[in-house]
Symmetry: C2
Subunit: 309 residues, 2 copies
C-alpha cells in the first residue's frame, strides 16, 4: 500500500508539532504533502523550521482540500472552525482527524457527528490519550469488572499552570468568541473524554462550579470544580485550574471490588478479595474489611507512557 498522504490545516503550535512528527518519519504509513494556514508568517516559520520537508503550502482550506494532494487531513485550527472544516473534508471524501475539542457548541458537534455518518470518508477525533497504556489499562480493568460496581470517580487535574503571557500570546485565546471557553475546552478535553471512556458511561447529572478569570486577566473559566452522579448513584468530582503550581494530577476510581489510582504516571490497582458490599452484609465485625492485594505490575507495558503536549 502506498503511504497515506496527509495535509494539515492550521500550523500554530500544535500543527507545527504534528509536522515535526512527519518530518521525523514517526507516522507509520503516513506522509505529509501539504499544509494550510491563513497566516503567511506561520507558514514561513514552519518552512524555516523544517527546510528539508517537501510540503506544498496553502493559504486557505479550500485550495488544500481541492488540491488532490491529500487523502487525509488533520484539522488543527482554532476551535470554532473544527466542525466546519471536518464537514468540508468529509464531503470531498477526504478522511479527517480533528484536534480537540470537537467543537464549542454541543449542537454543532452533534450535527458534525450526524453528517459524518452519512459520508464514506473516515472521521476521528484526536483523543490521543486513549492510546496511553495507563488509561487503556484502567479502562480494561473497569470494563472487565476488576473494581466491581462503580462507587466514585475523582480526578484532580490542577497541573495546567499557565502564565498571563500564555493567554496574551494569541488574540483568540481564552475568549468566548475565539476559543469558546477556558481550561475545560482547551486543557481538559482529554481528561473529560477519558473519564467517560474509562468508566464506560456518561454521568447522569453534572453540577459545575466555575470561576471566570480567577487567576488571569481573561474572560473565560480558569478554575473549575464539577460534581457529578452516575445512573447507579456513584459520584464523581473533577477539579481543574490553570492557576496553581506545582499542581496535581491524580485520577482515582473506586468500586466495590477495589480501587484504581493513577498518579505521577503510575497506576496502582487495589484489588479486594471480596466485594465490599457483600462483605459488609455478612461480616459480624463492625470494623473488619476485605483483604486486598496490589497486583504488580498491573500491566507489563504500563511504564511506557505516551506523553504528548
Amino acid at each position: 500500500m502506498d503511504k497515506v498522504r496527509f495535509g494539515i490545516i492550521g500550523v500554530g503550535n500544535q500543527g507545527t508539532y504534528y509536522t515535526g512528527l512527519f518530518e521525523q518519519n514517526l507516522i507509520k504509513n503516513g506522509v505529509l504533502t501539504a499544509v494550510a494556514d491563513t497566516s503567511s508568517q506561520r507558514l514561513k516559520r514552519l518552512v524555516e523550521k523544517y527546510p528539508h520537508m517537501k510540503v506544498v503550502c496553502y493559504h486557505d482550506y479550500e485550495t488544500i482540500l481541492d488540491s488532490g494532494l491529500c487523502d487525509a487531513v488533520l484539522v488543527v485550527t482554532p476551535h470554532y472552525d473544527h466542525a466546519k472544516l471536518v464537514a468540508e473534508c468529509l464531503k470531498r471524501g477526504i478522511h479527517v482527524i480533528c484536534d480537540k475539542p470537537a467543537g464549542v457548541y454541543t449542537k454543532q458537534v452533534r450535527e458534525m457527528n450526524e453528517f459524518a455518518k452519512t459520508c464514506n470518508a473516515r472521521f476521528g477525533m484526536m483523543f490521543n490519550q486513549r492510546t496511553n497504556c495507563v488509561y487503556r489499562k484502567m479502562r480494561e480493568i473497569v470494563q472487565s469488572g476488576g473494581i466491581g460496581e462503580l462507587q466514585r470517580v475523582n480526578w484532580i487535574i490542577t497541573d495546567w499552570y499557565r502564565t498571563q503571557a500564555y493567554y496574551n500570546s494569541g488574540g483568540w485565546r481564552a475568549t468566548w468568541a475565539g476559543e469558546g471557553g477556558g481550561v475545560l475546552i482547551n486543557q481538559c478535553p482529554h481528561q473529560i473524554d477519558l473519564v467517560q471512556w474509562v468508566v464506560g458511561e456518561m454521568p447522569k447529572t453534572v453540577r459545575g462550579f466555575c470561576q471566570y478569570g480567577r487567576w488571569h486577566d481573561i474572560e473565560v473559566e480558569d478554575e473549575v470544580t464539577a460534581y457529578f452522579t452516575y445512573a447507579n448513584g456513584a459520584t464523581g468530582v473533577f477539579i481543574t485550574t490553570t492557576g496553581e503550581t506545582p499542581g496535581t494530577n491524580r485520577f482515582e476510581i473506586s468500586g466495590t471490588k477495589g480501587k484504581l489510582l493513577c498518579e505521577n504516571n503510575k497506576l496502582i490497582w487495589y484489588k479486594n478479595d471480596e466485594d465490599s458490599q457483600v462483605f459488609s452484609s455478612r461480616s459480624e465485625n463492625g470494623f473488619a474489611r476485605p483483604s486486598f492485594e496490589t497486583p504488580t505490575p498491573t500491566a507489563p507495558d504500563v511504564t511506557k507512557i505516551t506523553s504528548l503536549p
Copy 2:
C-alpha cells in the same frame, strides 16, 4: 500540685479506651477516680477489664458530679447528651472535656459555648487530632504564609469503611434520633475541625451532596461530597463515606507559594521560590512556572504520629 481527679461519663467503646489510658498511667498529672454509665453491663465489663483500677462506679451523671470525687470530667456519651452534660459539669465548677461531636444542633452547641463563657471551670472539646504533629505542622506552615494565599483545600477521607454489623451494634447508632447524623457527625468531626483549624478560617459557603443509607441499611448519610468557597474565592472539596475500601485519606492545601500534601501519614511541602501569581504576571513564557523545592523533613517530629481510634 496534686493530680487532677478525673471522672468519665459514658464507658462505651471510647470511654473504656480513655479508662485504659488512665490505667496505663499515660495521663500525666491525671488520675481516674470515678465513672458513670446508665448500663450496669458496661460498668461490669469495665471493672472486669481493669480489675486493679480503683474507681467508683455510678449509674447517673448527677451522683458522679455531686460525689466530690471529680475535679474534671470527660463526657463520652451519645451525642445528644453532650451539651447538657457539659453544662451540668460547668455549673458545678467541674472542668470538662467533651468528646466529639460538640452536639447535634448548631443552636444547642452555640448555647453551650455561650454558657461556658459565663463559668469559671475550664471547657474543652476533645479535638485530639489538633495535637497530631502533622496537622500542627500544616497549620503552622499555612498560618505563617508558607503556601502564600490560599487557593484550594481538598480532603478525600474515604477510609472509614464500616460493615452493616457496626451500625447494628447499637440502637442509637446512625439514627437521626439517637446519633443525629452519620459519617459527618460520627467519623469526620476531627477532619471537619482540622480543615477550619489548619486553614485558619471557616468557608464562606458550603454546598453539600449527601446520600442517606447509600451503602448500609441506615437512615443517615454514609456518602458525602461537599464543595465550599472561602472569602478570598479559594475553593474546597471534602469527600467522605463509610462504604469504600480500601479508602483514601489525602489532605491537600494549595496556595500561591506552594502546596501541602498529607497522605499515608506523610507530609510533603512543595515550596515555590516565587509566588505563582506574581510569576504569572511577570513571566514572558506562557508555559514557565516557578521552581519549587520540597524541604525535608518538613518537621523533625512529623514521623511521630498520634494515632487515636
